[in-house]
């Protein structure tokens, strides 16, 4: 799974810029293989057995105990699936790209390689390496193919993430050094009982370091700006997958290795998360740029993810991972619909748009579905995720839980406001001549919706998977 984007990337390097169709086809095929493999792992993973499966392990640098150690378990399987789906649909979404096609797909595939790597690595060093691999292409993708204030956004995003990395490295090294094992293998490190002091310090370093990428309040401001500037597929990947890297890393590294540190800081986490949830919806309410609106809704939803993690209960983490998945698919859908509209109209101002249901019924149906999913309508995957998180939260942090639930009303208002101004009312005469989504371009969006609905109707497929990992995970803590 890690290999297929890489292979695609290498083939692409050999192709000429002019062979656009071939370039697209190659990237699609390599993305398709990733998708197929991720679906395969998701389905073939034996839930009753649990634990790590599909393990691959090679020593790389013996002296420092670095090894290539990847595997799949219930926690990352959903996220792998998510990445597979988003990259596949992302490539399809950018089918029409004409500017520097080759470089674009090369970077995208590089990004995805990094993402897969992070999700699967069980070696802390490789984890961090892949993490950086995933982050760097972002800068270039936004800078070259972006829009609105792209230099500023790209710079800001990179600086933020680098600052985050600046916190992560000391955190990782602290754990590495104080374990005395001389290994980066997370499973071995997990077995070590670090002193509480080390745990507290390392946890806070790692939490804020990775939290930058997960857009934890108040480290979130890069995210809306970045979303706005990025081209469609990059926004999809970015909001859909990259932000999950952050939250996943908090779970996988910070909480996994420093359980005591986690318990010490859980209150703070919950507080920040709740602030993020409430804050995101309110700020989103005042935005007029479609992508900003989505950006802030992401802040809010990632707050829910964080809140779930903060509870440290099976339900909470189940919900949280589920929410990562659901939110990833949902935002991908959001951005791909917005991208479609933006490509045609070249505006994202919600007041300037209007009546799009009339002009492009299919495109707007996609957006509306995403908006409803964002508002937490049942029958969609995110409903279950939010439900689990909220129930868990109310038990552990009642005040924060109730606040977060109350924010849902505003969330609904916020989603519907956008839908109403953009898609209902009389159409803007400027835009009436635009065509609707063609069946081919509609396909990726359909896939996303199908995923959302499938897991909305059969949540157990997902929750069972996650649970198989969460229960031992928490017992280990």
């Amino acid at each position: 799974m890690l290999i297929s984007p890489l292979v695609g990337l290498i083939i692409l390097l050999l192709l000429k810029e002019e062979q656009k169709f071939l370039i697209r086809a190659v990237s699609l095929v390599s993305a398709g293989i990733s998708l197929a493999l991720s679906i395969y792992t998701f389905v073939a993973y034996d839930k009753s057995l649990g634990g790590l499966q599909f393990v691959e392990k090679y020593e790389m640098v013996k002296t420092f105990g670095i090894s290539y150690f990847v595997g799949v378990e219930g926690l990352n399987a959903p996220l792998l699936l998510l990445t597979g789906i988003v990259i596949f649909t992302g490539v399809l979404t950018m089918w029409e790209l004409e500017v520097r096609t080759k470089e674009f797909f090369i970077w995208i595939l590089a990004l995805v390689t990094g993402v897969f790597g992070v999700f699967m690595s069980y070696d802390m060093f490789m984890f961090f390496l892949f993490y950086e691999i995933a982050v760097v292409p972002m800068y270039i993708l936004i800078l070259v193919w972006g829009s609105t204030r792209k230099e500023y956004a790209a710079m800001k995003l990179t600086l933020y993430l680098m600052a985050g990395s600046g916190l992560i490295i000391p955190g990782i090294l602290l754990l590495y050094a104080s374990s005395g094992l001389g290994t980066f293998n997370m499973l071995q490190l997990h077995a070590v009982h670090f002193s509480p002091w080390v745990q507290k310090v390392a946890f806070v370093l790692l939490f804020f370091g990775f939290g930058v990428l997960a857009a934890v309040w108040p480290l979130h401001t890069w995210s809306p700006v970045g979303h706005v500037a990025a081209p469609t597929a990059v926004s999809m990947l970015h909001a859909g997958v990259l932000m999950k890297l952050g939250s996943f890393a908090v779970l996988r590294v910070a909480m996994f290795l420093c359980p005591e540190g986690f318990h010490y800081w859980a209150q703070l986490m919950a507080l920040l998360a709740t602030t993020g949830i409430v804050y995101g919806v309110f700020v989103g309410l005042a935005q007029t740029d479609l992508k900003y609106v989505i950006g802030y809704s992401s802040v809010s939803h990632m707050g829910i993810v964080c809140l779930g993690l903060a509870t440290g209960t099976v339900d909470g983490i189940n919900g949280s991972v589920f929410q990562m998945f659901a939110h990833g698919i949902m935002t991908a859908l959001f951005f791909s619909s917005v991208g479609y509209i933006y490509d045609r109209t070249h505006t994202r101002d919600i007041h300037e748009l209007g009546g799009f249901s009339k002009i492009m019924p299919v495109a707007s149906a996609f957006f509306i579905t995403a908006a409803l999913c964002g508002a937490g309508v049942p029958g969609m995957a995110s409903f279950w995720a939010e439900l689990l998180v909220f129930i868990a939260t109310v038990k552990v942090f009642p005040v924060q839980g109730l606040l977060a639930i109350a924010a849902l009303v505003v969330g609904a208002l916020f989603a519907l406001r956008v839908v109403q101004t953009t898609f209902f009312n009389e159409p803007n005469p400027k835009f009436v001549h635009f065509e609707d989504v063609s069946p081919f371009l509609g396909l990726p969006r359909m896939m996303l919706i199908a995923t959302l609905v499938f897991f909305g109707i059969f949540p157990q497929t997902m929750v069972g998977m996650i649970k198989s990992a969460v229960v031992p995970f928490l017992q280990g803590m």
């Binding site: 309110f282 309410l285 009546g355 009303v409 109403q420 009312n425």
Partner: protein, 656 residues
């Protein structure tokens, strides 16, 4: 109880088929109207048959105390276990049958009503979605499933109200409905969460409705806890069932197509709230405080909406306010029953009868609207509304039922509620209810009389009332079949008049089924001690209302001025809908948009983001400062490199 249970399967079919039809239409066939219609109809007819067959098959097998529950696990997380299943007891069986019937009738009706609309297929898809969620709501076994269906109902109503999305008012109304009911739903959800809290050893989401009721009955909870939960759940109820002060969405929701108004806002959706109270009746009944609050709120609702109904000019608005008032009436009945230690029968009975006659009224209104292309019943009257024979007769039947005139069904159910109120120690309530009945009869017959006895064309009153808004009569597609396009002999297609007749039949029959229904619901029938005084006063009030309406609007000498004209301040107050809309708008603008949103945005821009940018800029600035020769970047960098290299080297050397 496994998944192969025949009851489970048929329930599953009832719920799943409409959902399937929704999905299929939305994804595949939304461009092909006829096919979509066929799918949708099939998928509503089968549930109809199944629902009635279930009803008749299990009629004698189940009682309130011994329901049939079938469920499977839907979601198993750690502490959260969500079952999916069905609860069949008299209340839900009857409701299932009613909902299935009315949905089916309205689908039939819509064939005629929505003909030629570009969104024809979408409309049927949405109707299917609504049918699915409503059916699942009434048959849900667990609270969470109920909540989910509850939300889905909200979603479907949002889609349906905003069906003509090009109209700003329609999409605005849809949004309003969704957000306002959502507001209530959050209360509902919190109520559930609190219940989980209080019933520590129980998992509410895995819990059937009956367990909650048992818990309430066996007094595991303290009085205060029950009150809190009940009131929070009542939030949800008042959102859905449009109780004061969050009733404001319902009148606006009339922006939707009329079949929708009939389906959602009369018979089924708004009834969901009342249905929830009947479901959780023991819980509510366990808290006197909560029930008193419900009683007060429902009374306010009743009076408020009746008074507004008196001055509305839009026929659908009138029916909408009458719906609100009748819902208030049902809630009054239920709360009075709870306070008086009686049974839930009266309120529930009114719910059933109301479903029939209000759907009837709306559908008739729909026929008029469809025919004349306006919502204003004064305009209809002038354009010859009374010449449409079938709708005119049926609307009169509905109106008589609504006013509570013997022998129509409304009479029986209203009387039952009044009897409950009569048992309350404070007689004020029954007085207010009677006053409400009076007002109801008045505004209902105001419409009927205006329609039946129009003035001559040259009568001066038309100057005031005959206001055709330019272009105001078309919902897009209807422009081409507006008046004139029809000649009156085949004015009403059979698909539209057929449901009218069926519903009129129900309205007539249901009244006489009171005793068997009560027996079915409660297992026994209480002998009715006819309180003749009450009976006569109720009928008297209704007749009084009709009489006043006759004087004001009906008789040839009537001035066509409501008696309320004599109190201009009051009238204005009513026309402005008690200023409730203004209040909410103000609230939203000031607090949500104005305060929080702005403060947070400002904070985000300036403080959080600005702070970070400041750090960035100061970094760059300090970099600039350090580069004393700004332009020589390459060499400067190298110099630093060299210096640092040498410095580090020296340091290491010294250290050795």
């Amino acid at each position: 109880m496994g998944a192969c249970d025949p009851n489970f399967l048929s329930c599953l079919l009832i719920v799943a088929l409409p959902l399937l039809s929704f999905a299929v239409i939305m994804i595949f066939t939304w461009r092909r109207h006829k096919l979509s219609l066929a799918i949708s109809l099939t998928c509503s007819t089968i549930p109809l048959i199944l629902a009635w067959s279930l009803f008749f098959r299990l009629k004698d097998a189940v009682t309130m105390a011994k329901p049939i529950v079938t469920q499977v696990n839907w979601l198993v997380s750690d502490a959260v276990i969500v079952p999916f299943g069905f609860l069949l007891d008299p209340v839900s069986l009857l409701m299932l049958a009613i909902v299935a019937t009315i949905s089916w009738l309205i689908q039939i009706y819509s064939i005629g009503y929505m003909e030629g609309d570009p969104g024809f297929a979408r409309f049927f898809a949405d109707l299917s979605l609504f049918g699915m969620s409503m059916l699942s709501l009434v048959s849900a076994s667990g609270m969470l499933q109920l909540f989910i269906s509850w939300e889905l109902v909200g979603l479907a109503s949002y889609l349906l109200i905003g069906f003509w999305y090009e109209k700003f008012s329609a999409s605005e109304a849809g949004k309003k409905a969704f957000v306002v009911t959502r507001f209530g739903d959050i209360g509902f959800f919190m109520g559930l969460v609190f219940l989980t809290f209080f019933l520590k050893d129980l998992n509410i989401f895995g819990l059937g409705i009956f367990d909650i009721n048992n818990a309430a009955l066996t007094h595991k909870l303290t009085e205060a806890q029950v009150t809190l939960c009940a009131l929070l759940i009542f939030c949800g109820v008042s959102g859905k069932s449009a109780q004061f002060p969050i009733h404001v969405w319902l009148p606006d929701a009339m922006e939707g197509p009329t079949p929708v108004s009939a389906l959602l806002h009369s018979a089924t959706m708004v009834a969901a709230g009342i249905y929830l109270i009947t479901r959780l009746f023991p819980l509510f009944a366990a808290s006197v405080t909560a029930m008193s609050v419900v009683l007060v709120i429902s009374t306010i609702t009743l009076l408020l909406s009746s008074t507004i109904g008196m001055v509305a000019k839009d026929i659908k608005q009138v029916w909408a306010y009458s719906t609100v008032s009748q819902l208030g009436f049902m809630a009054m009945g239920l709360s009075a029953a709870a306070l008086g230690g009686s049974t839930l029968f009266a309120g529930y009975y009114h719910l059933t009868t109301h479903a029939a006659f209000k759907a009837l009224l709306f559908l008739c209104a729909g026929v008029f609207i469809h025919h004349f292309g306006t919502n204003d019943f004064f305009v209809m009257s002038k354009d010859g509304g009374r010449k449409l024979a079938i709708p005119m007769i049926t609307v009169t039947i509905g109106a008589l039922a609504l006013s509570g005139i013997f022998p129509f069904s409304g009479f029986f159910s209203k009387e039952a509620i009044l009897a409950q109120l009569w048992h309350l120690p404070n007689k004020m309530w029954v007085g207010l209810a009677l006053f409400g009945a009076f007002l109801t009869a008045y505004y209902t017959f105001r419409v009927i009389f205006v329609l039946l006895f129009p003035r001559k064309d040259d009568d001066p009153v038309w100057q005031e009332y005959y206001v055709r808004e330019p272009g105001g009569h078309g919902h897009g597609a209807h422009d081409d079949d507006a008046p004139g396009g029809h000649d009156e002999h085949h004015g009403v297609p059979w698909v539209m008049s057929f449901p009218l007749i069926v519903l009129a039949g129900f309205t007539l029959v249901l009244g006489f089924l009171q005793t068997p229904l009560e027996k079915f619901l409660l297992g026994e029938s209480h002998p009715h001690d006819m309180n003749y005084m009450l009976l006569f006063s109720a009928v008297g009030c209704a007749l009084g209302g009709i009489g006043v309406a006759w004087l004001d609007w009906g008789s040839p000498k009537a001035k066509w001025q409501g008696f309320i004209k004599k109190f201009p301040a009051l009238e204005n107050f009513f026309i402005q809908k008690w200023y409730m809309d203004h209040f909410w708008r103000w609230f939203l603008n000031t607090f949500i948009y104005g305060t929080f949103s702005r403060i947070f945005t400002y904070n985000d821009r300036r403080v959080v983001d600005g702070g970070v940018d400041a750090v960035a800029f100061s970094t760059i600035g300090s970099g600039r400062l350090l580069s004393f020769i700004q332009t020589a970047f390459v060499q400067l960098n190298m110099l630093f490199m060299v210096l640092v290299l040498a410095g580090v080297g020296l340091y290491l050397l010294m250290g050795r």
